[in-house]
Assembly symmetry: C2
Homo-oligomer: 174 residues x 2
């Protein structure tokens, strides 16, 4: 148990947002993408409604179209793939976004553990970005893309930020 | 790397919501709670705003008061501690909740890796629950509790659900 714990802690603290990729033409093996997406399903969800859908993108024409339209996803043209985490508002109107956020964190951790680079780029709650992605990918109206997570081979060695701030820990009240 | 990856995947899939605790009087070691909370800070956040605060509760009078007021947190009277994940809406109005959700997922994974039980019980977006927790813990108006995560010693052996559903994976479009 100690070894697993240490491995988890280390991956959590090593995870960083990677925004520069190389070898975009080099595909990410299908079973790697599958392992990453499977981890997303293991997140918790309110009342166990599991309101998520995952759109895996490995066609470069689509990665490029997303790259051109999404202001914070300008690394997609060099990514090997992307996962778009979507929530079904008909399944869970109140909690789809936080449930999908927990699922996204699993995606980011597993990508890190594979030595891949990934970054959460926000789509929701920008109406403009939501509509663009819905239209491009033919999503039903009730399927809202929370984010696009480009995944690729890191171009550089990236160091995680140390964001620990003891002033944000409060004991038994503010 | 393979070992770390396997350990991570295994913890992600072993994590489950634990709602029955024993030995609530037995404290969780301070350094264990600290390791759990530190992992939360390593989550990503939109524009790196880190809008989170973490309230660690280890006083049973407070755990009991939360237990009595929160309909989905009726395991708090047997928990050893709780972490309340809060977002600062003045720091990140649009993204505080999903950032705090990613941080919560780190908390849940590390608790699992320690062999502890934990469960996400929702506070936000219920106004009634938000106001109650704000008042009890003297939170400023801009500090919104997303959830209460009771943490304790599992009373039973809990099995994770298999929630994998290949129909929710879509490739290159809906």
């Amino acid at each position: 148990m100690k070894d697993s714990l240490d491995a988890l802690i280390s991956i959590i603290h090593e995870r960083k947002s990677v925004r520069s990729f190389k070898d975009g033409d080099k595909a990410i093996p299908k079973e790697v993408l599958e392992t990453i997406v499977k981890a997303a399903f293991a997140a918790p969800s309110a009342i166990n409604l599991q309101p998520w859908h995952f759109i895996v993108i490995d066609e470069h024409t689509i990665l490029n179209a997303l790259n051109d339209a999404l202001p914070y996803a300008k690394m997609l043209h060099k990514a090997s793939a992307a996962i778009i985490v979507c929530g079904d508002t008909q399944v869970s109107e109140l909690y789809w976004d936080v449930d999908c956020a927990a699922a996204t964190q699993n995606i980011l951790l597993v990508a890190e553990a594979f030595g891949l680079g990934a970054v959460w780029t926000a789509v929701y709650p920008s109406d403009e970005r939501v509509f663009f992605v819905q239209k491009l990918l033919r999503l039903p109206d009730n399927i809202i893309p929370l984010n696009v997570v480009p995944i690729g081979y890191p171009a550089n060695i990236n160091k995680p930020k140390n964001k620990y701030d003891p002033q944000k820990i409060h004991t038994n009240g503010w």
